[in-house]
Symmetry: D2
Subunit: 330 residues, 4 copies
């Protein structure tokens, strides 16, 4: 099979022809149909994340495809199953967090496209019980980006614990943000996009936003928000957005960069604001995130590339030239 | 090995000598040290529960022991691990509830001592990932009853979502109730036992109760409770206890009998009461339930029997002659 | 002024001409524009509620109008304010529940149309701080029924603590239920009406329901519901609806009749169902309930009567001939 | 009567003899028995808080005493009532937050010792409905500091929404912190003090701490905490304490200084940490905070001064020479 390899940190990805792997016990072999290329792939390539990587490595943590072979002892999956694979595949099973059922906090977790080969290939192995069945109504191309981008943003929305009648604002209308607007709207909330760009204003309305404001200050004038979903890794506009956060409002951080967060404690204190860190979590949220797409209420905006052209895709993602989500198609 | 078999519904348990089983892939073989005998075993024997049973069957869903052999592909357990096994061992992995990570609602779940042989034996097989590691400080005898009785009552306490300063009352001071008092107290709540019996009054204080009342009416006069843990399957005193439930109070049902619950809607409505059904759930709660015992804050009161004398234990449980928990020891 | 008096239990309402009252300190005089006639008025008239009544009494606990006179010391209201008055007007201020800020549980509360004259008149007194300002966009006629019917049903929806992606079913498509469907939809939930009647099926879709099913059994077949709003006081269909309640679902009781609730404990226990009693509560919920109407997302279906014809209105309500809400207009 | 006046920003407090005031309608006159002197009084004196002050002003927002005179229309209080007065006394009654019942967010609130004269005097006026009845078992001296210090720290504990089995750490063992340890312990949590000082270590154990650690790093080694109560306004040790915050832990900010909070987003994100701003809030929490003291489970450590010596008390508070709470006694 063909696969895109990262030979080492800071090197160029290479398409190599290797033997299609065989599933070990409890694993399945997936014929990859679509594999999202996330900005995190760039971070990994540049060695910017403190992850234990096994080189040469196939990246890609948004894979979707069809099971074509079962390893021994697999009982919960069958050939022909359409599945995706989330970030966490296997954990130690022994630490407190594994025992508590919160495997995302296990320090020995094995991650898709990190310690285990990911989806930028024609085939991929995955632990059967880590795979997630795709609803019939969802295409592989639409499903793939949900396994990181969609899961992240919807987990953030759920972490905010939004209540009926609340107002949700989204900062950053890109790969995560365009999904944030749609998920917020699909879940029934009054949804506000915060953006300076005229261009994005129009887009935000198309995606279902009820309101578009230019800043937190502007947001405050126009009713404020109970929840702010921070989908950009540049914190300046997100911090400014606090000005439009209503009392008891929640500010949800869904990603991290090297910048520090610099927060005014007085306003936080007086308004009883909350700052909530939110990684992807809880299988329920992935289930619901996929279901909203399956029901046609959320639609990922993708730009597709063939595996052969993955370097082009990579460069575009690295240079910020992909507006929403890049997906490699086989 | 020796094991106690239930040959069929409504028959007598028989100690039989059989070959010690060999773990299949993903399974472990546990040398049973302690196995709780729960009243549910009586229900199962009498055919009173709508469960899919495989006869002849070894019952026992409160097993604790040591892993002595690993099946193929087991990575998360090793020989010498001290473990217990909860009710749910394996599920379909495909239904909505499995996908959501709420396996207790899977309709094809395989249960310890139900579809799979349980702990009333010298050895037992279990799926490795279903086993729960025991803290070092807890004995097998103390651990075993936590896997059903302790887990049930602590899940109920957690399902009540009790808040600081709240008052928790326990109805029924027996196998579950004597743990309910201790868990409530260990978690820091003002704890009230509801009982008519002078004898149990004394016991309740020994277990840590702050207050003992004779009925819901008496409870009302003496400050009421925000949470009522219903640990008896005879509902009369539990329903009467509603009289002492404070506004916004929660009444937690942790078991079920054939009686119907007959509820006064007016009082429920005006007081914003909640009736909450609570099975064992969430691995976190089992983790915490075991930890409270390991820390010495909760102590199970047991009566022990050898495997040879399991019929005597059964008769005593069936006749209500075991005051707290019966445990079979090897 | 003219007012409709109930001379005593079980007597006929009488329109009498009396002197327009003068506000005491902290009170305001409201020129009533619209006054909802609720089935509770029938219960009160028939002496079916255990309330401390002062005869002769003007009923009406859904009043809306304009403030025309201020008593001494009133600082928070001014002439011309458009207001409604909820059920609880004044409480003891000393009991635990008053101290906790949960005045609805005060045993000495003074209720609109119960211990204090209500809105079935041309003018009405109310404690200034108990009145609620109406949003500009809402008419008196639309506002009035929100003060009991709307508040009740929306409080119930909020008491269910519904989460994004959940499904809400409504049993009983009448005065409360037609608002329940609309509130559920306005808050963004997949909304299901449970009704046998073809006629109501059509109506339910018009009100915004996504789905109509005939029973709990039918509901189960069609995806179930996470929340069931019980808006009818006849419990048979509501109890049957448990069959369609998903695991961890909540069954919300928003009213009470003389029937007992007869509940199957096994299903409650195994499914971790919750039964939640919900009166009107929390000023936030009234604020939001009014706002949804002001925003045009919920529309009360009313039948209006003049004060002179209030007996006709009463008879129709008593005989179940008002399909949704009766409102007296001045 | 005698009263301590702040003539203007940055001036010295002066004891003046003025006429005892007469309650206006809805007000009561309180003979002050004890009045806490909080560091906020220093902030106000130095003009460091953006508050609308009326000079000359009597400060003191922790007053406790006995009602000796009732203004007109007061129905909920009587002579002889023992009461304290919290920060928020009166609000506009018209804004969204007043309508929602969250008066602490009203922008026109009138504050004790800010826009209204406070408790550093022999007598004080207060709006009757803003006063809080003291439990019989609590002395004025113990009650007074609860109205700011105790309320603040207990509100913070409740804002953390701590669950059974969780671990709570307190940073800063002074005026707030010594109450934090006691409230955490009274509510049943494993309680940890974070302090470098040997001296405070001993004290922390006396106050009921289960564990004392020297830093967040040390905390991490020793089991971590699920909640960190930040009771100091110097953020360095509090920020360092994040290192000991367990996954899904909450870091509660209960006060604000001029320092900025500088937060590492990566750890916040990966651990799903929450930063929660918490002012005093919700009458329930004040009710419970007083009750824990009344029950003898929390004991304020006070240093008392006569009104004549209030300048001495002020200087000591300003210079950090009061270890816990200063209280003026009449």
């Amino acid at each position: 099979m063909k696969a895109a390899f990262l030979p080492s940190i800071n090197s160029k990805w290479e398409i190599r022809e290797i033997q299609t792997p065989t599933p070990s016990p409890n694993q399945v072999l997936i014929k990859i149909n679509a594999s999202g290329l996330c900005y995190t792939d760039v971070h990994i390539t540049k060695g910017e994340l403190p992850l234990p990587l096994n080189f040469p490595l196939i990246l890609g943590h948004e894979p979707a495809g069809e099971i074509v072979e079962l390893g021994e002892s697999v009982t919960t999956r069958k050939k022909g199953d359409r599945v995706g694979v989330p970030w966490v595949q296997k954990t130690c099973g022994r630490c407190e967090w594994c025992q508590r059922g919160k495997r995302l906090f296990c320090e020995q977790q094995q991650g898709t496209g990190v310690t285990l080969h990911g989806g930028h290939a024609e085939y991929m192995l995955a632990y059967a019980d880590a795979t997630v069945l795709l609803p019939n109504e969802i295409s592989h191309e639409q499903a793939a980006p949900i396994f990181c981008a969609g899961y992240t943003v919807y987990s953030g929305l759920r972490a905010a614990n939004p209540k009926p009648h609340e107002r949700i604002a989204v900062v950053g209308i890109g790969g995560l943000g365009h999904l944030g607007i749609q998920y917020s709207k699909a879940a029934g909330f009054h949804t506000i996009a915060i953006t300076h760009s005229k261009d994005k204003e129009e887009l935000a309305y198309k995606l279902g936003a009820d309101q578009v404001v230019t800043s937190g200050k502007d947001l405050k004038k126009n009713g404020g928000a109970d929840v702010i979903l921070v989908t950009s890794n540049s914190y300046k506009p997100a911090i400014e957005a606090f000005q439009g956060l209503r009392p008891e409002g929640r500010w949800i951080l869904m990603g991290a960069s090297n910048e520090k967060l610099i927060i005014d404690p007085l306003s936080l204190f007086l308004n009883r604001h909350q700052i909530i860190g939110s990684t992807q979590n809880d299988p329920e949220y992935l289930y619901e995130a996929l279901d909203f797409v399956a029901k046609g209420k959320v639609k990922v905006m993708t730009e597709t590339f063939s595996l052969e052209n993955i370097s082009e895709a990579y460069d575009k993602v690295a240079n910020g030239e992909i507006r929403f989500r890049a997906v490699i198609r086989n």
